[in-house]
Symmetry: C2
Subunit: 292 residues, 2 copies
């Protein structure tokens, strides 16, 4: 079978063997925002066509492809939900080339009743459970970073933080970006930003310090960007962490390493789980419905 | 004499009578970012030329015109500073048309030693003291909102919040803006945002709620923008307010009214002081040096 993680900005597909092992992978910069309405079937056929021609007949999709802006809208499942509920909630997608189904996203509410949604991360979390065990706290960094708690193999609730997107908007759309060069690799400045998040004054005040530290103390270029990154991630951690917890970080190497560093600085214990979680989750769901 | 508040985006000049009363006013969208290097004298001569021709011979400038990107850089004065220190720190500006001096900005450090700077607001605060008395807490909303404490007529310290600029960057540069129409006038949504700021989870989490409330509960258009505005101002207030304080709000009517509403919702007592504070501050400094 074929599994696809089809997000806002990227497309990633795997061909699985009979035992659920990955036999081949395709990546493309063809996220759903770059696909014209009505164009999803053609893009899928193009990207995984060779595998279909070689005999594959089943495709499982996860991610924003199941959103209102995607191919077919899959209703959100309510938390708590695990592999069983998700497998039971798959949505059929009309596709001439193969039997095609879509993984539903999850919905929850935070402690004050404000809605939460995810699409794609639920699949990665299922895939990561093999490495974490059935009780765990997960962090999935990104434009919209997700923090999810799993109990007895089910996602019981989660919170989203707009950390990545806010970083990009502040860098490109405010005076702070004028002092920043390319890159954000400066470990000392990053750590300083993480520490700053614990000070009183709040994020909106701390942001102005990015500018004054540049003006008055020469914190510029990559150091300024690293400081801002640390500041934002530090504020995210301050809102989530309650002590020396073990946190499983699921994500691409560079950003996962940055979060692991910040979690350590904040007194937690970060465990990284590689990028294969998305593929593992698709295989796990496929196994539930007898496709593997 | 002539007083000028010359900021990043706008130019505002007043002609004062012998008693310090405003006799005439000029406004122009000619902030320092629109003035080419070396072009400040020409712009000033053009905007206040008729008053110079009518016999005025002294010009007092305040605001970002004294910054590194301005006409002449005036060093920051350290807090605490009041009318006496500021009048003693005026910087001469070479200008063929009149005797011309520049009000220095102020510098401070927050409780953790991070630098703070202001240019122009110190003049407005001096001008507002006539309405507040010599001990007061001031709020000056804007792109970079300033909160300043005054004791015995001197500014003892201040904090900056990037509230206005962050609002604009989130609206124009993130997914949140896609659900917002023009305007941000929805009192109920604004109040809901102010209240939300008190919930746990932090600003980066609360921001994602702007999106989910739009997706799941129809909070869109002007209501979404008003909610975001309330959320940001609410976070600013949560970092500054310690209880039922009296707060003097200095600023243009629309934004000052919005802050006054939020301060009331947060349990404080807002007192508004009109937009004439900038002119009053320039007159007060001019009086110190015998120009009035």
């Amino acid at each position: 079978m074929i599994g696809v993680d089809w997000g806002t900005s990227s497309f990633r597909a795997w061909r699985f063997g009979a035992g659920g092992e990955v036999r081949a992978e395709v990546r493309a910069e063809r996220g759903i925002l770059r696909v014209a309405a009505g164009g999803f079937a053609a893009v899928l056929a193009e990207e995984v066509g060779p595998w279909l021609a070689a005999g594959e007949s089943r495709v499982l999709l996860s991610g924003m492809v199941g959103s209102r802006q995607g191919w077919v809208e899959a209703p959100y499942l309510a938390c708590p939900a695990g592999a069983e509920e998700i497998a039971a909630g798959l949505v059929a997608v009309p596709f001439a080339g193969a039997e095609c189904r879509l993984v539903p996203g999850l919905a929850a509410r935070d402690g004050q009743g404000v809605p939460e949604v995810m699409r794609g991360e639920e699949t990665q979390i299922l895939g990561a459970l093999a490495g974490s065990g059935p009780e765990a706290l997960f962090c999935l960094p990104g434009s919209h970073a997700k923090w999810a708690r799993v109990a007895d193999g089910r996602i019981t609730g989660f919170s989203t933080f707009m950390t990545g997107e806010v970083f990009a908007a502040l860098r490109s759309g405010t005076i702070l970006g004028r002092m920043m060069g390319e890159g954000a690799d400066d470990e000392a400045a990053f750590a300083r930003g993480v520490a700053r998040a614990k000070d009183p004054g709040g994020l909106l005040h701390h942001l102005f310090g990015v500018r004054t530290l540049g003006l008055m103390e020469g914190l510029e270029g990559a150091a300024s960007a690293a400081y801002l990154s640390g500041l934002l991630i530090g504020h995210e951690l301050a809102a989530v962490m309650t002590g020396a917890e073990e946190i499983f970080v699921v994500g691409a190497p560079a950003i996962a390493a940055r979060y692991a560093t910040a979690i350590g600085l904040a007194g937690g214990r970060a465990r990284r789980i590689g990028e294969t979680a998305g593929a593992a989750g698709l295989a796990l769901i496929a196994r539930r419905i007898g496709w593997i």
